[in-house]
Amino acid sequence: MTAFIQYLITGIAVGSIYAIVALGFSLVFKATGVFNFAQGSLMMLGAFLAWTATARWGLALVPAIVLTLVISGALGVAMHFVVIRPLMGNTLLTLVMATIALSLIISAMASIIWGSEQRLFPSPIPDHVLIVGGVRISTLDLIVIGVSGVCMLIFGLFFRFTTLGLQMRATAENSEAAVLSGVNSQRVFVVTFAVALMLASIGGILLANISLVSLSLGDIGLLAFPAVVVGGLTSIPGAVVGGILIGVIEQLSAAYISVESQDVIVYVVLLIVLLVRPWGILGEREVVRV
C-alpha cells in the first residue's frame, strides 16, 4: 500500500509538470485556435534562460526566474506578431507546420547559442526528503506540485475575476461576438501568447531542477499532447486534470506493467480516448458546421 501511495505522489509530481505544459497548450488553443507545437522547445528555452541568468550572470534564484519570465513574455509577444498573426485563420496544417517550424528554429538556435553539453542547474530548489507515515516525499516534488497548484489557482482567479480574463474567456467562446461586444481581440491574443510562454518557462525551470538543463527537455512536450487531449482540448481545467492523470498513469504503468513501455501506454490511452471520447473528460463535444 505504501508503494502505491508512493507511486501516486511521484505521478502527481510528474503530472504537475505535464499540467503546466498542457495549460499553456490549452490556453493558446482555446483563445486563438492555434495548437502550439513549439511549447516543448519553449520550455527548454526557458530553462536555458534561467540557467544563463544564474550560472553566467550570477543572479540569485528568484531574480533569475523573474528575469526569465519577463524575457519569455516579450518573446511571446514577438512570436505572436511575427509568426502567428500573419497566419491566423489559415488551415490547420498551415498553423501546425508554422509552430513546428518555429520549434525547429528554437531548438537549433538553442544548440548554436548554448551547445549540446548537459548542465546542472546551479542553486537548485532544495531537495530534501520528508517521511510521512512511511511514505517518502521529496521537497522538490512538493514544490513542483505547489507551484503548479499556485499557477492554476492564479489562472482560475484571473479568468474568473479580472476584466482581461473575462475578455479572454469571451474571445475563446465566440470571437465574433466578443469583437462585437467591444473586446480588443488582438490584445487578448498577445496576452495569451505571453502568458503561455511564461508558463512554458516555469515548467522548464521545474523540469531542469528535476533532471538536467539539456536540449532534450523539449521532448516532454510530446507527452503533454495526451495530457491535453485526455483532459479536453477545449477546457482549461481539463488540461490540468489531464496532465496530472497522465503523470499518474505513466508512473503506475511503469510500476505495475513495465518501465520501458510507460510512454507507449500513455499513447495507447491517448488513442483510446480519441476513438471513444475525443473531446476528453472535461471538454465539450465539438459541432462542425458544414
Partner: protein, 363 residues
C-alpha cells in the same frame, strides 16, 4: 483508341491526347523529354566525378528515396487532406517487411519489396480507420500515437528476432545484377521514382483521384454527391502507405543496416516540410521540396568547407553548427513559404515557366 475517331460526326474529344491538340506545342515536349532522360542518365557519372556543390552520389540516392516518401505524403495530405503523422512507422514497416521476408525467409528482392509495400497498404488501411471518425487535429494526434506504438513494436521485433545490434541486409540482386554501388542503386531508384510519379499523376486523372480531391475540399459535400467517403479515405491511406513501405524497404536495403534509431518523429516532420515547401497538392512540388530538403545539408557542408573556419562571423558558425544552421534555414524557409507563398515552390516554378512561355506578353 484512334485519335482520328469522330463521334456522331462532330469533333468530340475522348482522351487527353486529343484535348491537348487544341494548342499544338510542336516538338518541344519531345525535345525536353530527350534532354531530360539524357541528363538523368548523365547524373551519376557527373556526381561521382566532380561533386557539384558538394553533392555526392549517396546524397542523390537518398534524395530519390525522399522524393518517393514526399510523393506518398502528398497523396495523403495534399490530395486527400488527411493529416497523418505515421510516416516514420510505415518506413519502419517497410524495413520490417524486408527483414522478415528478405533476410529471414530469403524471398527474392523484388518480391520482398513489393510484398512489404502490400503489408504497408494493409496496415495503412487499418491506421486509416480512425480517420473515419476523427478529423483535423484529432486525426493528427491519433496517427502520432499510432506512430509511437508502431516504432515501439518495431524495436521489440528487432530485439526478439535479430538482437541488439540491429538488422543487417545483404546486397540485393535483381535480374542478375547485384546492387552494390551507388550508380546501380541510382538507376534502380530512378525507375522507382518515375513509376511513383506516373502513378501519382495518373491517379489524379482518374475517377478515384477526383474523389480524393473532393473529399479534401469537403467530405460531407463529397458524400452528398455520391462519393463513398469511407472507402476513399481508406484507399488514400492504403495507397500512400504502400509507397512509403516500398520506399522503406528500399531504404533498408540501401543503408544495409537499420535499428530503432533509424526512424524518428523528426523524419515525419521533415517529410511534411518537404511537401509544404514544395507546395501542397502538387506532384512537382513534392519533388522540389524533397530535393531541397535532402540536398541542402551537403551544399551547406560544402559551403562551410569552402568558406573555412576563419571567415568572419559565418566561418566558425558553419564549421561547428552546420546541421543546426541547416535546420534554422529550413524552418525559416517553411515559415516564409507559409506566410508569403503558401502554394510553395511549385507555384513559383510554374509562374516562372508561364512568364517564359508567354514572353513577351508576360506581366
Amino acid at each position: 483508341m484512334s485519335d482520328k475517331k469522330r463521334l456522331g460526326g462532330s469533333r468530340l474529344t475522348t482522351n487527353y491526347r486529343q484535348d491537348l491538340r487544341v494548342m499544338p506545342r510542336g516538338p518541344w515536349p519531345w525535345l525536353c523529354l530527350i534532354v531530360g532522360v539524357a541528363f538523368l542518365v548523365y547524373v551519376p557519372t557527373w556526381v561521382e566525378n566532380s561533386a557539384p556543390l558538394g553533392i555526392g552520389s549517396a546524397d542523390v540516392n537518398f534524395a530519390l528515396i525522399t522524393i518517393m516518401g514526399a510523393i506518398a505524403l502528398n497523396l495523403l495530405v495534399g490530395y486527400t487532406g488527411l493529416l497523418s503523422m505515421g510516416h516514420a512507422a510505415f518506413l519502419a514497416l517497410g524495413a520490417f517487411g524486408a527483414a522478415l521476408l528478405g533476410v529471414k525467409a530469403g524471398v527474392p528482392f523484388w518480391i520482398t519489396v513489393i510484398l512489404s509495400g502490400c503489408m504497408g497498404a494493409l496496415v495503412g488501411a487499418l491506421v486509416g480507420l480512425p480517420s473515419l471518425r476523427l478529423r483535423g487535429l484529432y486525426l493528427l494526434l491519433s496517427t502520432l500515437a499510432l506512430n509511437f506504438i508502431a516504432l515501439f513494436l518495431f524495436l521489440k521485433y528487432q530485439l526478439h528476432a535479430f538482437g541488439p545490434a540491429g538488422i543487417n541486409y545483404p546486397y540485393p540482386s535483381f535480374l542478375g545484377i547485384t546492387f552494390n554501388n551507388d550508380t546501380k542503386w541510382y538507376f534502380l531508384l530512378i525507375v522507382c521514382v518515375i513509376g511513383t510519379m506516373l502513378l501519382s499523376r495518373n491517379l489524379l486523372r482518374s475517377r478515384d483521384g477526383r474523389a480524393f480531391v473532393a473529399v479534401r475540399d469537403s467530405d460531407v459535400a463529397a458524400g452528398v454527391t455520391g462519393v463513398n467517403v469511407a472507402a476513399i479515405k481508406l484507399k488514400a491511406f492504403a495507397l500512400s502507405s504502400f509507397i512509403v513501405a516500398f520506399a522503406g524497404a528500399l531504404y533498408a536495403y540501401y543503408v544495409s543496416t537499420v535499428n530503432q534509431d533509424s526512424f524518428s518523429l523528426d523524419q515525419v516532420i521533415g517529410y511534411y516540410a518537404c511537401v509544404i515547401v514544395g507546395g501542397l497538392g502538387s506532384l512537382s512540388g513534392a519533388v522540389y521540396g524533397a530535393l531541397l530538403y535532402s540536398l541542402l545539408p551537403p551544399i551547406l557542408t560544402q559551403l562551410s568547407n569552402d568558406v573555412g573556419p576563419n571567415a568572419p562571423v559565418i566561418g566558425p558558425l558553419l564549421a561547428q553548427h552546420a546541421s543546426d544552421l541547416n535546420l534554422v534555414i529550413f524552418g525559416v524557409v517553411v515559415l516564409l513559404i507559409l506566410m508569403v507563398r503558401p502554394a510553395g515552390l511549385a507555384s513559383i516554378a510554374s509562374s516562372i515557366g508561364q512568364s517564359f512561355r508567354r514572353w513577351p506578353f508576360s506581366s
